[in-house]
């Protein structure tokens, strides 16, 4: 096996390890994410996508190593072989194993995401039936359930439902209630459940990988901040913050609070309230541009390698 290909593969695996180790750790601890949640969310997506594509690229590099050097040319030759209908020509046992590995990683990623989607949709269908049977619909389409525990959530789907309880209505004033409803509307409008889907799929498929958990927790918190910002825009930060505190108190009185399965809720609420009571201070435009540039470049990289052989 050419040593250049091996070195390239080792480098790519090293990048994957760095991304899922120190980089994920740094990002989950970073304080700036509160200032620009959308940018931070893109960075989490980029990090996972990059780790994924580096791993696949490492396996592909090893698989096509004997075909030609340097590696990109090997990929060109391999692509031409695929197009010619004889993809496995000149590949040995090790190469075939690496190729199978690359296909397996891609297939596994697609299947855990698809399975998570189906699982969530099925579980939600039952709850949607309950809500539709029980709730009275306000004139603005909000579903109200008669229950003492103050709660508000978005039940996503083709026709998303915003659900609130009578306990919540009794607890908040008009402005706070409107802020909560707009927070949930932002979740529905932004299809945040789809945004979180790859994160939750990975976290439940690899519960022992710290990066998977950190990414899911981080993304879930950022999505809340996005919705907070939408509500803040219309009703002011103080109204959203007050609503958060009132609901937290109400829930504490209603009984034992559910503990997070993700295990990283500590201080999350305080962080949300604190940022709502301060003035918004997004990160500098050039920093945002850097993140979006990286997010564009990463998927473009592998394509750029392959395009010359198509033409």
């Amino acid at each position: 096996m050419p040593s250049a290909a091996l070195a390239a593969a080792v480098c790519l695996v090293a990048v994957t390890v760095v991304l899922l180790g120190p980089a994920a750790g740094r990002l989950s601890q970073a304080r700036w994410v509160e200032r620009s949640p959308r940018t931070a969310l893109v960075l989490w997506q980029t990090l996972l996508a990059a780790a994924f594509s580096c791993l696949v690229a490492a396996l592909l590099t090893l698989a096509v190593a004997p075909l030609a050097s340097p590696v990109p040319h090997g990929l060109h030759v391999f692509t031409r072989q695929v197009l010619a209908g004889e993809p496995l020509r000149d590949l040995g046992g090790v190469q075939l194993a690496c190729l199978a590995g690359a296909i397996a990683v891609v297939g596994w990623s697609a299947s855990i995401t698809a399975c998570a989607f189906v699982r969530q949709a099925r579980r939600r269908r039952g709850h949607r039936r309950q809500v539709d049977l029980l709730a009275t619909r306000n004139e603005d389409g909000v579903h109200l359930i008669d229950h003492a525990v103050p709660a508000a959530y978005c039940l996503p789907g083709l026709r998303p439902r915003i659900v609130i309880t009578s306990g919540l209505v009794g607890l908040l004033d008009t402005r706070e209630l409107a802020a909560v409803i707009d927070h949930e509307r932002a979740h529905a409008r932004g299809r945040h459940h789809l945004l979180l889907l790859p994160f939750s799929a990975l976290a439940s498929a690899l519960p022992h990988l710290p990066a998977a958990r950190a990414a899911h927790t981080g993304a879930a918190r950022l999505v809340e901040m996005l919705a907070d910002d939408a509500a803040r825009e219309r009703h002011g930060g103080a109204a959203v913050a007050r609503a958060l505190v009132r609901v937290a108190e109400g829930r504490a009185q209603a009984g034992p609070l559910p503990t997070s399965v993700l295990g990283a809720a500590e201080g999350a609420l305080t962080a949300r309230v604190r940022r709502l009571t301060r003035q918004a201070s997004p990160i500098a435009p050039w920093q945002r541009a850097l993140v979006y540039g990286a997010a564009l470049a990463l998927p473009a990289g592998p394509l750029a390698v392959l395009i010359p052989c198509m033409t």
Binding site: Q120, H127, L197, G267, L269
Partner: protein, 117 residues
């Protein structure tokens, strides 16, 4: 009126009648004034979903809600609030989980906000 709407209306009527009701009584009570046969169809659907049970009284059936509305609401909220550990619903709550220590710190923060208003 959609089927779901009618099911909801029938259930709400039954929930207010612990002594049960005949299909004819329900048809008369509903504001949309559906035909008795329509109500029977709806009741049949609800019975298949195990939301409604029936008892024979003479030539007709008397229908009852299997569980109270409160029980249904408690069940729905148990699911939604994730106390059963049901994360697969993937709901986006306004407020999901609270660290009990958060609440004390937040009370102080809240006093700060209200002072500004």
């Amino acid at each position: 009126m959609r089927l779901g709407e009618l099911e909801r209306a029938v259930m709400n009527e039954l929930w207010t009648r612990p002594q049960g009701a005949l299909a004819r009584e329900l048809a008369e009570a509903l504001p949309s004034q559906p035909a008795v046969t329509t109500v029977l169809t709806i009741l049949d659907r609800l019975a298949r979903k195990e939301l409604v049970r029936r008892e024979r009284t003479g030539r007709a059936h008397r229908y009852f809600a299997v569980h109270s509305k409160e029980a249904h609401a408690a069940d729905a909220m148990r699911l939604a609030l994730g106390q059963a550990g049901d994360r697969e619903l993937a709901l986006t709550h306004f407020l999901d989980v609270v660290d009990p220590e958060d609440v004390a710190a937040l009370r102080r923060l809240l006093q700060g906000i209200e002072g500004e208003d």
